[in-house]
C-alpha cells in the first residue's frame, strides 16, 4: 500500500474522530502549540529587523550571518536537552519553537526595511516626517510584503516542527506519528503526517489571503521569497 492509501484509510476511520486524543482534539492542540511561539517570535523578530534595517550600515552582514548560524541549532536536540533538565514544562517546548521561528522573521523584516527605495525614504524625510513617522507610515508599509513572507515561513516551520515536540510528550498531531512509530503502526503515522501537511498548506493559503488584505494596493506586486 502507498502512503496515501494508508493515510486515507486511517483519516477516514470514524473511531479516530471521537473521544480523547481524537483527530479534532489534537488538531486544535496543534494550532495552539503553534500560535504561541509564532506570536512570541514575531514580537521579537519584527521590531529587531525593522530597527536594524532602519539604521542601515553594517547591519546586513551581521543579520545574515547571525541568522544563518542560528539556523544551525537542531530543534530536536534543543528540545531534548531542555526536556532532560526541566521535564515537561512550557519552556521545554516553547523555547525551541521560538528559536526556530526567529531567523526567517528577522531576516525578512530586515531585508524589507533595508530594501525600501532611497528616493522614497528621502521623500518621507523631505515632507517633514519624524523618524518614527518615517518608519511606521512609510518604511513598514513598504516592507510589509517581505515581513509577511517571513511570518509565513516561520509559521510553516513551527506547524511542521511542533510535530517533533510530540517526542517529548507534547500533544498535537505529532502524537499520532510518534505513537505510531513506537508501536509499528504505519496507519496513524501516515495519517498524522498527511494532516500536518494539510495544515501547513492551509497556513500557506491563509497568508496568501492575509497579504491581499493588508498590503497597500500600490505595492501588490509579487513579494520576494526567502
Amino acid at each position: 500500500m502507498s502512503f496515501f492509501t494508508w493515510a486515507w484509510d486511517w483519516v477516514t476511520t470514524d473511531a479516530n474522530w471521537h473521544g480523547s486524543g481524537s483527530i479534532p482534539q489534537q488538531l486544535l492542540a496543534h494550532l495552539g502549540y503553534s500560535a504561541l511561539p509564532l506570536l512570541i517570535a514575531a514580537l521579537i523578530g519584527v521590531p529587531a529587523g525593522v530597527a536594524i534595517g532602519h539604521r542601515g550600515g553594517k547591519g546586513a552582514v551581521v543579520v545574515i550571518n547571525f541568522a544563518n548560524a542560528w539556523r544551525a541549532i537542531p530543534t530536536l536536540g534543543l528540545l531534548i536537552l531542555l526536556a532532560v533538565f526541566l521535564g515537561f514544562s512550557p519552556i521545554t517546548w516553547l523555547l525551541p519553537l521560538v528559536v526556530l521561528a526567529i531567523p526567517p522573521i528577522l531576516v525578512n523584516a530586515y531585508e524589507g526595511i533595508a530594501g525600501v527605495e532611497a528616493s522614497v525614504k528621502d521623500a518621507a524625510k523631505g515632507m517633514g516626517m519624524t523618524p518614527w513617522q518615517q518608519v511606521t507610515r512609510v518604511e513598514i508599509p513598504n516592507a510589509l510584503p517581505l515581513i509577511l513572507v517571513g511570518l509565513r515561513t516561520s509559521a510553516i516551520f513551527v506547524v511542521a516542527t511542533a510535530t517533533i515536540a510530540a517526542y517529548i510528550g507534547l500533544g498535537g498531531l505529532g502524537r499520532f506519528i510518534i505513537d505510531g512509530l513506537a508501536s509499528d503502526q504505519y496507519g496513524p503515522v501516515a495519517g498524522g503526517a498527511l494532516l500536518v501537511v494539510i495544515l501547513a498548506v492551509l497556513v500557506l493559503a491563509l497568508f496568501a489571503g492575509l497579504s491581499r488584505l493588508v498590503i497597500p494596493a500600490g505595492l501588490r506586486k509579487q513579494a520576494k521569497t526567502e
Binding site: 502512503f3 544563518n68 544551525a72 532532560v84 503526517a193
Partner: protein, 208 residues
C-alpha cells in the same frame, strides 16, 4: 561524566561523518537540480510562477512527514532522508538561482552579446559567475538546514548525530545531548565557512 566522550570517540566520529554526508550531499543534489531549473525560469518568465507555487507547497511539508511519506517506497534508509532533504534544499536554492540570474544587469549581458558571446557561452562565462554570490547564499541556507534536519532522521531510525539526542534522553544523560548539539552546530558552521571561502574564491572582484 565527561569521560564518556573519549571512551565513545569512534561512535561520535562515525555519527558526525554520517550526519555530514546526510546533510551536505542532499544540498549539493539540490543545487545541481536547481541550476538548470533556475536557468529555464530566468529565461522563460511564464515558467517560474507555477514552479514557485509547487516549491512553496513542498517546502511547507514537515521534514518528518516527508520522511514518513517516502518510507513505503524507500524503507527506513538513508535514501529516504536524502531525498527529503534534497527536496528542501531545492526549495531554498532555486529562488536564489532565479534571483541571481535576473539580477545580472542588462548592460552586462548586452556587452557580452556585443562581444560576440552566444547565449550558452554568455550564461556560463558571464551570467552564472555574476550570480554566484546570490546562489551561494541560498546554498548556505540549504546546507545548514539540511545538516540540522538530518538529525531528525534518527526518529525513523536513520543514523546521524540525532542518535546522541535520543540515546541521551532515554538514559537521562545530558553530556551526550551536549555533544550532539555542539557537533551539529559546529558541523553546520564549518560547512558554512567553507562556502563563504568558496564564494570569495569564485568572486575575486567582490569587495567583502
Amino acid at each position: 561524566m565527561w569521560s564518556w566522550i573519549p571512551s565513545n570517540g569512534s561512535l561520535i566520529w562515525q555519527l558526525t561523518w554520517e550526519n555530514a554526508k546526510l546533510g551536505v550531499l542532499p544540498a549539493l543534489y539540490g543545487l545541481v537540480i536547481s541550476l538548470p531549473l533556475g536557468v529555464i525560469a530566468a529565461r522563460w518568465r511564464w515558467f517560474y510562477p507555477p514552479v514557485l507555487t509547487v516549491v512553496n507547497i513542498l517546502y511547507a511539508i514537515p521534514s518528518l512527514a516527508l520522511f514518513i511519506a517516502l518510507i513505503p517506497a524507500f524503507g527506513l534508509t538513508d535514501t529516504t532522508v536524502s531525498i527529503a532533504l534534497t527536496v528542501f534544499s531545492l526549495c531554498v536554492i532555486l529562488p536564489n538561482v532565479v534571483a541571481g540570474l535576473r539580477g545580472v544587469p542588462a548592460a552586462v549581458t548586452q556587452a557580452a552579446t556585443a562581444m560576440g558571446y552566444g547565449a550558452f557561452r554568455r550564461l556560463i562565462a558571464v551570467e552564472l559567475p555574476l550570480a554566484v554570490p546570490v546562489i551561494l547564499a541560498g546554498l548556505r541556507v540549504g546546507v545548514v538546514a539540511s545538516i540540522s534536519l538530518a538529525s531528525v532522521g534518527q526518529l525513523i531510525g536513520v543514523s546521524s548525530l540525532g542518535y546522541l539526542f535520543i540515546d541521551g534522553l532515554q538514559r537521562s544523560f545530558p553530556t551526550e545531548i551536549y555533544v550532539g548539539l555542539v557537533l551539529v552546530i559546529a558541523l553546520a558552521l564549518v560547512c558554512d565557512l567553507i562556502l563563504v571561502a568558496v564564494r570569495r574564491a569564485l568572486t575575486p572582484w567582490a569587495v567583502s
